[in-house]
Amino acid sequence: MSNPVPARPLAQPVVTARLLWTALAVVAVLALLTYLVAFDQGAVSRSGMYLHELMHDGRHLLGVPCH
């Protein structure tokens, strides 16, 4: 579209140090969640192999190396 006055984007946060630290914390939490789904074999979840086996099909179909 040819808009003479470019629309102001709704969310263009300024990247500050505080934002970076928050982002880092969020990434760490999400990486842990990803790990639990895709790679854990009971070491972190303390559930033995239960969660690992429960999400077996998902891991295969998401393409993560499984066994």
Partner: protein, 264 residues
């Protein structure tokens, strides 16, 4: 930091919903192939009596449980990916040269699909049950994760190469630079990382092919869903408050055309 939080929540929601949609796709297209592969695996194990006793003893979750667990896995994985995409969006938004939030979201989702899914798939495609040597699982997992990172680096290299060409140059030249930067990193990564040839000789080639397509399809559905839903949700601001950062009277309304909100 209301802005980051509001964007993050949109990403998580988009990811969760897209994950459940991808799970449905995987259930319909992928599960029949997993069942077929498990049948082959069982056949192989049952010819060895001792292994059979072993195998059944450690069966913690039945097949029905694993089919339900598929949705748990794709839902959680999707939410995590949506959250990561939202975080990437917040950090990179200003560097993306578009004034359209929805387009920026789709661009990032496409980059993630290419870098974190398609590139790894080219060297380490998904394997069904009965394929893969348990002894090498650690090396395979490590190499796979490394290739996910390198795939994202490859996309980044493509973007850098694209920008390094003068904006006055033809768009074809800029596209060639982008593809070249991307391919350079990808080819180096493919060459340096180890290969694993672990498909048993008697595993049906058709089944392997169909399973891998189903797996790739699941990821494509997931990332397409995340990108579209995230774009739509970004266009939908709260009715009474606007979590925009630098405050201003005008707002751009919904992203133009391409990603009109589905339903309603």
């Amino acid at each position: 930091m209301p802005t980051f939080l509001s964007v993050l929540l949109r990403g998580l929601l988009a990811g969760l919903v897209a994950g459940l949609i991808a799970g449905t796709f995987a259930y319909l297209v992928g599960e029949p192939r997993i069942d077929a592969a498990i049948a082959i695996e069982e056949q192989a194990t049952h010819s060895v009596p001792e292994a059979e006793a072993d195998h059944h003893a450690e069966e913690l979750v039945g097949r029905d449980g694993q089919r339900a667990g598929l949705f748990l896995a794709t839902g959680l994985f999707g939410a995590a990916m949506g959250g990561l995409l939202a975080t990437g969006y917040v950090l990179l938004r200003r560097r993306l040269r578009t004034s359209d939030d929805g387009r920026a979201a789709l661009l990032l989702a496409g980059a993630a699909l290419l870098g974190a899914v398609v590139v790894p798939f080219g060297k380490y495609p998904a394997n069904p049950p009965a394929v893969g040597n348990p002894d090498t699982i650690d090396q395979r997992t490590g190499s796979y994760l490394l290739l996910v990172l390198l795939g994202l680096v490859a996309v980044w290299a493509g973007a850098l190469a694209h920008r390094s060409v003068s904006p006055h140059a033809s768009s074809a030249l800029r596209a060639v630079a982008a593809v070249g930067g991307f391919l350079l990193v990808t080819v180096v990564a493919y060459t340096v990382l180890p290969s694993f040839a672990e498909v048993p000789d008697d595993f049906p080639a058709t089944l392997l092919w169909e399973f891998r397509l189903a797996s790739l399809g699941t990821q494509v559905v997931l990332w397409t869903g995340i990108g579209l839903l995230f774009a739509v949700l970004l266009g939908r601001r709260g009715r009474d408050r606007r979590p925009s950062v630098d405050g201003g009277p005008e707002r751009s309304g919904t992203p133009d055309g391409a990603e009109a909100p589905a339903g309603r």
